[in-house]
C-alpha cells in the first residue's frame, strides 16, 4: 500500500508513493500483488474445505440434494449472478481507470461496484428471509419443516445447512469488500489515484474478483442441482 506521509503534499503528488522499505515502485508493486495472491490462496483453501464438505454429502445423498435444491429460486439466483459478474466488470474498469490515472473515474466505478454488491446482498437477504418464513433455516434451533423424499429429512437439513454456511461466508466476504471499497471513494474524488497511484485499487480489485469466482461455483452447485430431473 502507499505510504502515509501525513503531509498535505500527498494529494498533489503526481508520482506514485513508494514506502521506505521498498527499493523502488516496481518492487513495491510486485510485492503487494504477490501478497494479495498469497492471501487469495489461503482463501482458496478456506472455501475449498467447505466445497469438499458439500461434495461428500452430495455424493452420499444425491436425491435429497436434488429435492432440496428445487426450493431455491433460480430466477433470483440467476439475477444475482448477473449482478455480481457486472460488478466484477465495473471493478476491472476501476482498476483500469487507476492505471490510467483517472481518479474520479476510479471513484465512479467503485461506487457502481458498491451499488451492485449491495443489490446482490439485498436479494440474498430477501432469499434468506423467505427461507426463514418457509421454515427451511436449520440454524439457531429454528424449526425445520421440510422432510424431503422418503424420510431423508436429515440430508435435506444438511443441504440447507451447507446453503446457509456457503452463501453466508460468501456474503460476509462481500460485506467486508464493500466496507473497504467505501474507504476508496473520498480519496478517489480528491484525485488520490491520479498519477499512477493505482496499487491499492489493483489489490482491492483482486479481492473482489475472487469473491466473484467463489459465486461462479456456488451458483450451479446450490441452485441448479439436477434441475432437469
Amino acid at each position: 500500500m502507499s505510504a502515509h506521509t501525513a503531509s498535505p503534499t500527498e494529494f498533489v503528488r503526481t508520482a506514485p508513493v513508494v514506502a521506505h522499505h521498498f527499493d523502488d515502485w516496481e518492487q513495491q508493486y510486485e510485492s503487494c500483488v504477490l501478497g494479495i495472491w498469497a492471501f487469495l490462496v489461503s482463501e482458496v483453501m478456506f472455501f475449498g474445505g467447505v466445497f469438499a464438505t458439500y461434495a461428500v454429502y452430495r455424493g452420499l445423498y444425491p436425491v435429497a440434494f436434488a429435492h432440496a435444491s428445487q426450493h431455491l429460486d433460480v430466477y433470483l439466483g440467476t439475477f444475482n449472478t448477473f449482478v455480481l459478474l457486472t460488478s466484477s466488470l465495473t471493478m476491472a474498469l476501476a482498476v483500469r481507470a487507476a492505471h490510467l490515472g483517472r481518479s474520479r473515474q476510479v471513484g465512479l466505478m467503485i461506487a457502481l461496484t458498491i451499488a451492485l454488491g449491495a443489490a446482490f446482498l439485498g436479494v440474498k437477504f430477501y432469499e434468506y428471509f423467505h427461507k426463514y418464513e418457509q421454515g427451511l433455516m436449520p440454524l439457531l434451533g429454528l424449526p425445520f419443516n421440510y422432510v424431503g423424499p422418503a424420510g431423508q429429512g436429515g440430508a435435506t437439513q444438511l443441504f440447507y445447512g451447507l446453503y446457509f454456511a456457503m452463501t453466508g461466508i460468501h456474503a460476509l466476504h462481500m460485506i467486508i469488500g464493500i466496507a473497504i471499497m467505501g474507504l476508496f471513494i473520498p480519496g478517489a474524488l480528491r484525485g488520490k489515484y491520479a498519477g499512477g497511484n493505482s496499487l491499492s485499487v489493483e489489490v482491492m480489485g483482486l479481492y473482489w474478483h475472487f469473491v466473484d469466482l467463489v459465486w461462479i461455483f456456488l451458483f450451479p452447485l446450490l441452485y441448479l442441482v439436477d434441475r432437469s430431473l
Binding site: L34, T81, G154
Partner: protein, 115 residues
C-alpha cells in the same frame, strides 16, 4: 501488470459478454436432461468462466511468474485435499465392512429431537 500498456476497454467488454454467455449456458444446460453428465458440464462451464475472470479481470494473462505459480499451486493443494477426502470416503466401506456387505449404502442420519 504494466501501467504503461493497458488492455483496451474492448477486452473487458468482450470478457464480460463471454461471461454473460457462460451464465446463460449454465442456466440453460441445467434444465436439459443429460443424466450423470449434468454436474460435469456445469462444473466445466464454471471453470471456463473462472478462467476468464482470472486471466483477464485479475490480469493473470499479463502477470509475473511468481503470481501464477502461487495461484496454480493453490489449485494443486485443493486437489490434494479433495483426493484425501474422497480417497477415504470411497474406500471406507470396503475396508471396514465384512465382505458381502453393501459397499455404498448411505446410512440415514437421525434427526436430533426437536420441539
Amino acid at each position: 501488470m504494466s501501467t504503461t500498456a493497458q488492455p483496451g476497454l474492448s477486452v473487458y467488454i468482450k470478457v464480460y459478454l463471454l461471461l454473460m454467455l457462460g451464465l446463460a449456458a449454465t442456466v440453460g444446460v441445467a434444465f436439459i436432461p443429460l443424466g450423470r453428465l449434468n454436474l460435469p458440464v456445469a462444473l466445466a462451464i464454471a471453470f471456463a468462466k473462472a478462467t476468464l475472470v482470472v486471466l483477464f479481470f485479475m490480469h493473470m494473462s499479463d502477470s509475473h511468474g511468481a503470481n501464477r505459480l502461487v495461484f496454480v499451486v493453490s489449485l494443486l493443494f485443493l486437489l490434494v485435499l479433495l483426493a484425501g477426502v474422497f480417497g477415504d470416503l470411497l474406500t471406507r466401506a470396503e475396508i471396514s465392512l465384512p465382505s458381502g456387505a453393501p459397499t455404498f449404502d448411505p446410512p440415514e442420519i437421525p434427526l436430533p429431537p426437536r420441539h
